[in-house]
């Protein structure tokens, strides 16, 4: 099995690229992608994440060469590639709709890129066989693509892209056509193969859990610009804006003013009490601020930091879901393993509290 690639993975650099489109309704130009600057380390798995229309797919298509940037330059392995057509770029893309050739069988689909590169017949056979083994499709060579399940078609698409050993592998929402269970299984699979081959991968998705689970680095985009980039944990625990916090999982926001602040911890005065948050820098006392805290980080009990009133209490199996009112703010709480805990009902009064290390200040 070809578990180590012969070719070195390539890095990708986006040097402040922008793409301008025309609004079909108003006829006005707007930035679909604006001033995106990125440096992707060879061999890493990077996800472009964001809601639809945020410019993530356009960015990917510019790297593949289907679109041309209006500003900036794209580098692949240190070489500028702006003027290269897609067929001259060392990239291979896995499409949302798989884009398998329906008139070829599995073998011919996978061999397509190798035949274009005039690889000798024996070698093609060897490499296709190896790569099909890697994606666990051995023995399926002669099947037509319409005889395969969605997950298998996805594997063929992946094999077809991998077999040409591209400098960078591009994924355009490859799992969005699969059902939920298969999606989870395939994303683990994709991550496993990417790590086994040490290949550079750029992955577009709008699914935050998908992004969290497979990426070395997440680039969260909004309205054509980068909202935040960082490792999954950085983005989850230290979102730099309400948008990022809210897009990556559920989040609670508590508005207040800084009461006192030192390097390490800030105490925030809220309308109904005070709360401490671990911070890396000191904030000016009196400044308006917002505490960001995840639902699973909040405890509900008979006593604690802030008084609250329960508005929704719902058993979800692995956790109890609460909506509680703290002053004027609605706070969502995920109480894991509720089996032996006290269950609060709608209308009950209680208190919430959270560990300063699990909260974050904006």
């Amino acid at each position: 099995m070809a578990d180590k690639r012969v070719k070195e993975p390539k890095g990708v650099k986006l040097d402040h690229i922008s793409k301008i489109y025309q609004d079909p309704k108003t006829g006005k130009d707007f930035y679909a992608v604006h001033d995106v600057a990125l440096d992707i380390v060879p061999g890493s798995f990077v996800t472009l994440l964001g809601p639809s229309g945020c410019g993530k797919t356009t960015t990917l298509r510019m790297i593949a060469g289907f679109e041309s940037p209006d500003e900036g330059e794209i580098y692949l392995g240190g070489e500028p590639i702006n003027a290269l057509t897609p067929n001259k770029r060392d990239t291979a893309m896995v499409f949302q709709s798989y884009a398998l050739f329906p008139h070829y069988n599995v073998f011919d689909n996978v061999a397509y890129g190798l035949r274009l590169r005039k690889v000798p017949k024996d070698e093609i056979k060897q490499r296709v066989t190896d790569i099909l083994a890697l994606v666990e499709l051995s023995g399926m060579e002669q099947r037509m693509t319409n005889q395969l399940s969605g997950g298998q078609q996805q594997r063929v698409a992946l094999a077809r892209a991998l077999v040409v050993e591209p400098g960078v592998l591009l994924f355009d929402e490859p799992l969005s056509n699969l059902d939920a269970k298969l999606r989870v299984q395939m994303r683990t699979e994709i991550r496993r193969i990417q790590q086994a081959l040490g290949i550079t991968a750029i992955y577009v998705t709008h699914d935050q859990s998908e992004a969290m689970s497979i990426s070395d680095q997440i680039i969260l985009m909004k309205g054509g610009v980068i909202a935040q980039m960082g490792s999954p944990t950085e983005i989850y625990y230290h979102p730099n804006s309400e948008f990022v916090a809210d897009f990556i999982g559920e989040c609670n926001f508590l508005k207040g003013r800084v009461a006192s602040s030192t390097f390490g911890q800030t105490v925030v005065q809220l309308p109904t009490g005070t709360a401490a948050v671990n911070t890396e820098k000191a904030y000016a006392p009196g400044a308006e601020c917002e505490i960001v805290v995840r639902p699973e980080a909040i405890l509900i009990a008979d006593e604690g930091m802030l008084p609250c009133k329960v508005e929704l209490s719902c058993f979800m199996g692995s956790y109890q879901n609460y909506h509680v009112r703290v002053g004027d703010t609605l706070v969502k709480i995920t109480d894991n393993c509720p089996v032996n805990k006290k269950i609060y009902n709608v209308g009950d009064n209680a208190f919430i509290s959270f560990d300063p290390a699990c909260a974050h200040l904006l």
């Binding site: 301008i20 289907f66 897609p86 291979a92 949302q96 398998l100 329906p102 890129g113 319409n146 040409v164």
Partner: protein, 570 residues
């Protein structure tokens, strides 16, 4: 905010792709030279005479009483034919989609929709004259009417309606099938009668579609040359007037100006149809039927409708059958037995039939693969690729749809007889087989392109993109992915082009020289002279050829078509 860089990069990428570049340049040259230029030269010629820029030619032709009359005639016929064809088409479509009918009736419908496609344009005129003319089988022998005059207004109207209503029927059938039955059921459920459902739900939804069908027929009618030529008698339409202006009055400038007038009328109609009605139709009827429609089984509805449609269908079929039978009678109108093959023999022994069929066949055979390939390339470029001249290519190939054959014919005479812009350049192709082939290609290109575009729109763009991304160049993408995926569409485009070419007459009749004998021109000549039996013999063989090639195509698609497999994927 400047889009300069992407435009520049796209240009660079295009230049880095010599095959694509060459294709685009060749296409633009072809379209400009053989569609735009002949039309432009008509305008130039009629505006720019010996005494400089002036409207003299237009003043002169509008001064002609015959020309003014021809405009009125054309519009009158077009209007009536448009309405009648739409109504009959609607009846057929409604019965097929809404009424439970016997299998045999369904078969009749199929034949009716198929016949106009495979037969030469003036077959119905021919049989109309033979059945209802002065010595017509029905008028004279069955009814004893000796002086029935079928030539003229009503002759044209009837024949054109019978020729064009199947087109409306097919268009409206498609639309009716897209109406979600639950809308009509909701109306029924609230207490509406069937008639009320039709007038308050179905009809309003269909209205833009009906307008569309009407205009399409209107354009076809005013562009039609062969039928008015044969059955019009003294009732001249624009197309025949232009023809006579060239062949009879030898007035090429006048004919050019008339052609400009005809072109303006069809273009205006076409613009309305294409950019207003077609969009509106699509806007009201985009939904897919959610489930099968409950067919009407009420006998008081099904029986009269089925009988009415069957009678109409049988009548149309009889008209077509009349042609081969006519070729078997010893003397049409006088002697009916014994049946004889002498006319078929004479086609080959006395009237150079072999040469006529060979010429028509060979020229069409050369033209059809060119047309099919060209239209697939155009469709591919229009649907799948992005480049600057795309709008131009799409617009011109669609524009060609609205150009009547007669106009194109006059344009070629003016544009190529003395060379490009009367300089003698390229005048070598005038009068050769090459220009006939080019006319065949240009005349069939719009239909081919339209079906190619709709076939390609159904194929996911990313399939080609992925081939491109894997390293295939434009040519490789087209040959290894696009073409195999639209093989069926390509094959049927091939046959359609062939059938259209071998049955074409309007443009060809103006351009053909004595060195080429074409079947359609021959049929027209014999029918004009009143030699119906020999015309029928020619027409019968022609129909046999065209029908044979359609059958052959269906067979080939059945055994070699890829699309079946491809369709299952979707």
């Amino acid at each position: 905010m400047a889009k300069g860089q992407s435009a520049q990069l796209d240009r660079k990428k295009l230049l880095a792709d010599p095959i694509m570049m060459t294709t685009i340049v060749l296409l633009i040259t072809f379209l400009t030279l053989f569609i735009l230029y002949p039309l432009a030269i008509l305008l130039v010629d009629s505006l720019y005479g010996s005494n400089g820029l002036s409207l003299d030619t237009f003043k002169r032709i509008f001064g002609l009483w015959t020309f003014r009359q021809a405009i009125t005639n054309t519009l009158k016929v077009g209007f009536v034919v448009g309405i009648l064809s739409t109504l009959i088409g609607l009846l057929f479509a409604y019965v097929e989609v809404y009424v439970r009918m016997r299998k045999a009736v369904g078969g009749l419908f199929k034949v009716v929709s198929m016949l106009p496609v495979v037969s030469p344009p003036f077959v119905l005129s021919l049989s109309m004259i033979m059945l209802f003319g002065r010595s017509g089988l029905i008028t004279r022998f069955l009814l004893g009417i000796y002086d029935n005059n079928i030539y003229g207004y009503w002759g044209i109207v009837i024949v054109q309606t019978l020729t064009f209503f199947p087109v409306c029927y097919m268009m409206l059938k498609g639309l009716l099938k897209n109406i979600d039955p639950s809308m009509e059921e909701a109306s029924r459920d609230m207490g509406a009668s069937r008639w009320k459902v039709f007038t308050t739900v179905t009809f309003p939804l269909l209205l833009p579609g009906l307008g569309n069908a009407f205009l399409v027929t209107f354009i076809e009618s005013i562009a039609d040359f062969a039928n008015p030529m044969l059955i019009g008698g003294n009732y001249d339409t624009l197309a025949t007037t232009i023809y006579l202006q060239i062949t009879g009055a030898m007035d090429k400038e006048g004919a050019a100006a008339m052609a400009v007038v005809l072109l303006c009328i069809t273009l205006a109609m076409f613009a309305v149809q294409k950019y207003y009605l077609e969009r509106k139709t699509a806007a009201t009827l985009t939904g897919k039927a959610s489930r099968a429609r409950m067919l009407i089984e009420d006998k008081s509805v099904t029986v009269p409708l089925t009988i009415l449609c069957s009678l109409a269908a049988v009548f149309v079929i009889m008209m077509y059958i009349c042609v081969p039978i006519g070729a078997l009678f010893p003397t049409w109108g006088y002697k009916f037995t014994p049946l004889t093959f002498k006319w078929f023999e004479q086609v080959f022994t006395r009237y150079n039939g072999l040469k006529a069929f060979r010429d028509s066949f060979v020229l069409s055979l050369i033209a059809s693969p060119i047309t099919a390939l060209l239209s697939m390339i155009i469709s591919y470029l229009v649907v799948k690729r992005k480049f600057k001249a795309k709008g131009f290519i799409e617009a011109v190939s669609i524009l060609a749809m609205a150009v009547p054959g007669t106009v194109l014919g006059v344009g070629y005479i003016r544009g190529f007889a003395n060379g490009l812009f009367h300089t003698g350049l390229l005048s070598g192709i005038y009068g050769t087989g090459l220009i006939l082939i080019i006319v065949f290609v240009v005349r069939s290109l719009p239909t081919g392109t339209r079906s190619g575009i709709s076939a390609l729109r159904q194929i996911d763009k990313s399939i080609e993109e992925s081939a491109y991304d894997m390293g295939a160049n434009s040519l490789k993408v087209f040959t290894s992915v696009t073409l195999p995926l639209i093989k069926d569409s390509f094959l049927s485009g091939l046959v359609t082009a062939f059938v259209r070419s071998i049955t074409a007459i309007s443009a060809i009749i103006l351009l053909v020289t004595p060195s080429y004998l074409l079947i359609t021109v021959q049929i027209n000549e014999f029918a004009e002279k009143g030699a119906f039996s020999i015309a029928c013999a020619f027409a019968t063989i022609l129909i046999a050829i065209t029908y044979g090639s359609v059958l052959l195509m269906n067979l080939i698609i059945k055994f070699f078509g890829t699309s079946r497999k491809v369709k299952e994927v979707e």
